[in-house]
Amino acid sequence: MPKVKMPRKSTNIDMTAMCDVAFLLLTFFMLATKFKPDEPVTVVTPSSINTTLLPDSDVLLFTVDKDGRVFFSMDGQPKRRKLIEDLNTQYKLGLDEKEMRNFVVGASVGAQIKDLKQYLSLSEEQRKTAGLDKGIPTDSANGELGAWIDYGNAAQGTNLNKVKYCIKADNQTPYPKIKEILDTFKKKKIQKLNLVTNLEEAPKGTAAWEEQQAGGKKK
């Protein structure tokens, strides 16, 4: 009987191409993205048609979560150090080096100034369990939010006019809370604010949409 010759095919596949693609994608993601900022609370921002980008530096960011707790954060470690040192001397908080360091490298803070020492000595989880992350009080009586704005300004040094004040609030944040914050800014004679939003397409047939169609790159 003649032997039926079965061609033996290797089950090995050439992985090189796949490897190339994988690393190409990897490189793309490494270069095109940046790490999610560490945030104490999750905030779902509303969407708007504005295309202005949030600047990277010279930003005082006030995060408001859905219960109306306010958290403060600022870029730049030297600035943060100056801010916490100023606060420490002004309010006689008696912070030690470790607690200040915690503030400088940490993310947003949201506590009453009198609780700040304890707040900074704890880790993120401990703060939650201790119930210290109550947010910065916004009522005008003790004016702590105003104090944060002032010290944030003072820490900016020379480029004060470049500073942007951003408010990042949750969809469900009640309006009176927002109004309190806006009023605080108003009292500080800060008129230009930025609200952090997601991008949304302008609805068809509206003035903004027509402008986008006509202008192409025009905002």
Partner: protein, 204 residues
């Protein structure tokens, strides 16, 4: 190419005849490398953000103590929008300085943030209506939108209505504290419509 197959191709090499050096395959198993690559991709995809958040400029007016410094808004060019709870929107034309206005049942109207038949259509209608009016110099008038948010409104409503201003290119708008009269109207409208019900379709 990256891969070279130099393994001997079996017994067909009779032409060479002579010395047969044993050739080792240079083939490398790429599977772990691909695994690692995709693992890293997954990691970067999950831990990073692609797009930077956008911001909306909000310019607050200065507090003016002096009556004279305040801008007066004409009744005919104004549109007042009220933000209520559960994403409800109410609006009326003018400033409601005339107390008799509320006597008219069609004066105070409810609508929604819907894309069609919502507040946007009303803003556009009012804008185009006002654009036909002429001021003393014979120039077209600008509509002035007064935004009043109730205590029950949330931040999303506030941003949405500011966004409507941007969408419809309304140049002049202001956020104003809500008055007791407005609150009363909201309450009575809610009571009339049944508070738990969905927003009523806009009056035509």
């Amino acid at each position: 190419m990256a891969e070279m197959d130099t393994s001997s191709s079996g017994g067909k090499g009779k032409k060479h005849g002579g010395t047969k050096s044993k050739k080792q395959s240079t083939r490398v198993d790429m599977t772990p490398m691909v695994d690692l690559g995709f693992l890293l991709i997954t990691f970067f995809m999950l831990t990073t953000t692609m797009s930077k958040p956008k911001t909306m400029d909000l310019i607050m007016p200065k507090d003016t103590e002096n009556e004279k410094d305040q801008n007066k808004v004409k009744e005919s060019t104004a549109l007042t929008i009220l933000l209520g709870k559960d994403n409800r929107v109410y609006y009326y034309e003018g400033l409601a300085q005339d107390p008799n206005a509320s006597a008219n049942p069609d004066f105070f109207k409810a609508t929604s943030f819907a894309n069609t038949g919502g507040i946007r259509d009303e803003i556009i209608k009012k804008r185009d209506e006002v654009a036909r009016l002429r001021n003393a110099k014979g120039e077209p008038e600008d509509v002035v939108v007064i935004i009043k948010a109730d205590d029950q409104a949330n931040y999303k409503n506030f941003v949405d209505i500011l966004d409507e201003m941007a969408i419809n290119r309304i140049q002049r708008y202001a956020t104003v504290d809500i008055s007791d009269q407005d609150k009363k109207w909201i309450q009575s409208t809610e009571a009339a419509n049944g508070v738990s019900s969905t927003p009523t379709p806009p009056a035509k």
